[in-house]
Assembly symmetry: D2
Amino acid sequence: MTTPRIRYAMVGGGRGAFIGAVHRIAARMDDRFELVAGALSSNPENAQASAADLHIAADRAYTSYEEMLRVEKTRADGIQAVVIVTPNHMHFPVAKACLEAGVDVICDKPVTRTLEEALELERIVKNSGCFFALTHNYSAYPLVRYARELVERGKLGKLRVVQVEYPQEWLTEAAADDNKQASWRTDPARSGLAGCLGDIGTHAFQLAQFITQQKVKTVSADLTSFVDGRPVDDNVHALLRFDGGAKGMLWSSQVAPGCENGLRIRVYGEKAGIEWAQENPNELWFCELNKPRQRITRRGDIGSDIAARGMRTPGGHPEGYLEGFANLYKDIADILIARQQGETHFLQNWVPDIDTGVEGMRFIQAVLTSSQQDGVWTPLV
Amino acid sequence: MTTPRIRYAMVGGGRGAFIGAVHRIAARMDDRFELVAGALSSNPENAQASAADLHIAADRAYTSYEEMLRVEKTRADGIQAVVIVTPNHMHFPVAKACLEAGVDVICDKPVTRTLEEALELERIVKNSGCFFALTHNYSAYPLVRYARELVERGKLGKLRVVQVEYPQEWLTEAAADDNKQASWRTDPARSGLAGCLGDIGTHAFQLAQFITQQKVKTVSADLTSFVDGRPVDDNVHALLRFDGGAKGMLWSSQVAPGCENGLRIRVYGEKAGIEWAQENPNELWFCELNKPRQRITRRGDIGSDIAARGMRTPGGHPEGYLEGFANLYKDIADILIARQQGETHFLQNWVPDIDTGVEGMRFIQAVLTSSQQDGVWTPLV
Amino acid sequence: MTTPRIRYAMVGGGRGAFIGAVHRIAARMDDRFELVAGALSSNPENAQASAADLHIAADRAYTSYEEMLRVEKTRADGIQAVVIVTPNHMHFPVAKACLEAGVDVICDKPVTRTLEEALELERIVKNSGCFFALTHNYSAYPLVRYARELVERGKLGKLRVVQVEYPQEWLTEAAADDNKQASWRTDPARSGLAGCLGDIGTHAFQLAQFITQQKVKTVSADLTSFVDGRPVDDNVHALLRFDGGAKGMLWSSQVAPGCENGLRIRVYGEKAGIEWAQENPNELWFCELNKPRQRITRRGDIGSDIAARGMRTPGGHPEGYLEGFANLYKDIADILIARQQGETHFLQNWVPDIDTGVEGMRFIQAVLTSSQQDGVWTPLV
Amino acid sequence: MTTPRIRYAMVGGGRGAFIGAVHRIAARMDDRFELVAGALSSNPENAQASAADLHIAADRAYTSYEEMLRVEKTRADGIQAVVIVTPNHMHFPVAKACLEAGVDVICDKPVTRTLEEALELERIVKNSGCFFALTHNYSAYPLVRYARELVERGKLGKLRVVQVEYPQEWLTEAAADDNKQASWRTDPARSGLAGCLGDIGTHAFQLAQFITQQKVKTVSADLTSFVDGRPVDDNVHALLRFDGGAKGMLWSSQVAPGCENGLRIRVYGEKAGIEWAQENPNELWFCELNKPRQRITRRGDIGSDIAARGMRTPGGHPEGYLEGFANLYKDIADILIARQQGETHFLQNWVPDIDTGVEGMRFIQAVLTSSQQDGVWTPLV
């Protein structure tokens, strides 16, 4: 028997949006999902036109997510999951409504606009019995997962130093008024109080915790808003202390000319170090003390089931950002199918969830606090 | 009005195949195609099971392409195009049958098993009025297309030297008997007389002609079969002379340990050089004489419409092999839609066609001849 | 008329030493210096044998620097300069004696063991009328000097972010007792209270100030000694604030497996960024906002007199650590010749001096203080 | 007892020359040689001025090498060796005169202007009992020597494919009349009939033979002179067949914009491949079949005495072109000292000699012949 595709709807992601299209390609890559409905825009005209672009039937092109949830519930072929790709401030109300309607949620990051919302959402998720995934896509690259395995297998020994960074250049200058992507990201009402910190700093933070499997305990931070008049930070400097004894640095910036999407992590332990950079995600450096560095490439025979799962081509055939993102969707499909049969799938351990989301908001909160208090070491609570 | 998806069938590509899955992801990436039928295997059980895997209706899971063409013709929602992903020896009969049935063809490379077949197919394509595309996917990477534009705009000046290479390691040792991918590729009856030459040498050749927009006039070659008992070449050394005055070298190998999929091209002219390597396809080196090298990255603002068409994400979000492959499918969709309206789309100039296929077979023939005659310079005729 | 070679003596650097040999090669590279005397070891036998190795006449092989200064003063062909390559704690007394004897000094870094000594030495230098150079060799690489020029010429615009790091692996494990290089560097009595911080952190600090031409005002630091029983730090995490408004991070470590000598700096301004790494010092990345990165190589035509001075071969002929070090010696030779004629040479602006040394000690002091006080921002005073 | 420095003279290398200065730095690097005399220029004024620059006593600044040999022979402290750094056409007469005077010779490459001269010189060397070294410096990089050892130890298995290349850009345009370096290199009367082929093609050839320890048996070549009016080749395309069964390609060019000094070699065997590039000589890739590539760096603990000999600093301290060149001089010093004691030093096996020179000229001759005969496979005889 063929496993049927999962029927999903999207909230946000109409014409002119960016990340919605990425989610759709990721969901489509392995043919495990079918986009059947959408509340793609609150503007009715845009909602209809966007739906038509995406082969969504006209009667399932909604202008409000509330209506969508209400109507879809009545259909035999109604939606099974909702993908939320709105600006941050809408994550909470949409997710809440979905979960309360018993619909599984796949949500872009950061999980909410504030820590309070995140904590409230955590309660809702746990009471709902629904599935909730947070699309920290970078942790789904095969070699990132392999890096975590190397740590878990003890290949690095006890961890000591974690250097993570995520520089970009695209907000080096004040953004033009019509730059939709820039405008909501630098508007606290929609994005939250964190600018660069929330947009990409949380990715760096999540990646560090994911690979090390340690939690950041406390941070000492220095946030800056270099561009005149920008109401949120555009550069994050933070020192980290992990609960397993490691120490780290986190740098994220959106004012670094020459840097496109420079997420990069290096982890050093008593026995070995690993280094990985997102812009060439098909290689991972494994550096045993006093031995030649090994360049591990993304290929099926590296000895990791979880990494091999996320590969569609042999080594040397570069896979990238969309494939990494698609790995999350592939995993979520497997998890949802398992849940339909009342089972827990081991992949839940590899897909970011509401706890990841809450941790990210605690991180944002602690960094903001530390920076306001001149760098005092601040716990993540 | 939404543009409907193109309904296609696949011949070959059942369970256990490799390149079929790549074509399907490529066709799916931008949601322009719908897989509705298939002759995925000549084995009925495998054909049915493979079709079910792919959500193909059971009554459209055929065991012979002839039957498929016959039956589909009778359906209102019948197939509009066929994708051929069989071993090489089946390309000709399947393509012939499709074209004679008035169905457009998308065919994996090399176009046929022999030059004679290719010339015959050329006549058939031209008489059929159908569309025929050959999936030399590497020429659809955005920066490869931009490289061709740099040449066409005269940024390199008159071309002088072309160095192209495509080394792999996977046939360094005699392949195990159950290695399906290796076995047909080293069997002249299915693959043709060219081994490495046909499998990847033709990619290198096509890439060189594509970027330079010059034709190879003559070759001097030295083919080797290093592995004992292998009936076809596994290493190609060839000198090239182009009709525009450039000279070149082509190396392809399947016995080069450490090389995964090392397609790489460098072109030097009177004013500048360019360098590109497939394993990191998101960067192109542009080297003006006596100036610092520029690392051009795949991003929307490089000043090329054709390159920007083939991008789905901003710079720094690596796109890879599957995205490059998908660019061909996206282009083919646009071409097919235009043809439905009786128009010729400019993209036909960018998608490899039957002429490309014939040139590739002439190249294979000339290299075989030159190598048999101890390297005598041999024209491509 | 030929410019005669400068006659110098070395203190420290006998058999078994490391950095002495580097200084000698650097001094010899351009044939501007002649090693004529030495107090290479306090052990008389080693002093004699080491001198003989180096073609120093037996009667100029001293066992004490005091004696050497006394005797050499009496010779018509006596020494003109002393190179100090002892462990840190001897820098102060030797330099003081030389300067009081009217002999110019070339001293390895850090300048002294403590800030108090450095301040005292500063007074001595200024009263002596002698020349004093501190061999922060990394700032003498041609492309580092060119980086400083790019900043000075305004090519980066107002500076914002400075990321500097210097990781090594060689002290990942507790050093063997007979590891002479490791033992004095981890002994506070000889090295000072700073371990990794003094040994390589000061190089990173000096490089950052040299290129940006800004001074670090305050630091917030987290020092760690990861290896059990090690009395000094082996990992430095510090946040920096510069007097020109830039902010930065400094990481230096000696417990990072896979890192050999990973000094690296990245500076981002309003208009452009630059990136440079010591392990491949012949390339400098110049990244103008939204333009392709330029890979500037070490070659004569880059448009910088100061950089071109430090090149001995054309581009593509890699020059390295010893050549960079030799640049300091070449410059010092020119400065000393100019001083003999009562002139001030412009190169004094490019060679680290006693002020650089004092700044380095203030940095060490501030980092130690901040780290002891849980990261409180601490000024360099 | 201290080993005395070897007293040498230089022929050629006066003001305005290039490679002479490189030899002098190389000879000076390890302090094993002393430049005591010179016939630096046939122009008396230049000869005197150049000698003074180099601290050569005025009475040992000669204008003819014949006179120099005659006079030096009469001195108790006369020269022990001569370094020849003239244009190619003078190599033969100067070397001949030195050898007949019983003086050891260190000669720049290629060994002579013609094969006939080389064969004659071979006879002279062998009859003279003198030492003769040819400065193919690239084979003295530590990691090149280690590469040869890996081959010799069987780590690659039986060799199959050798790809060697040496592209430059500096003659992309017709050289200005006053470009001294370009003018003699493109003048057959001084350089020989080979242009790029003789200048750098021979380096690539020597490197390939050195690492593989196989001899090239036959070549098939295509020489081009792309720049109008240039009397010698500026681009070399050649196919190679080695006596041990390997096959190869050699590309050298002086018209490749973006290439500075791109000597690079890749060797693939049945078990592993190695890759090395001169512009970053401190790393060597060792690629075992189906294992992660290893990045071997130049550091003392890689397990090779011959490589470790040629290192002056720890790993991560880049050593470059001058250090590689200096390795030859250091080895020659050891060999000459051994010969003074009637011993043969094992290093003679690692330093290019007259046989290497003759092989290089046979290679030039065979390439010229093959290219003139439209690429016919031509033996090296």
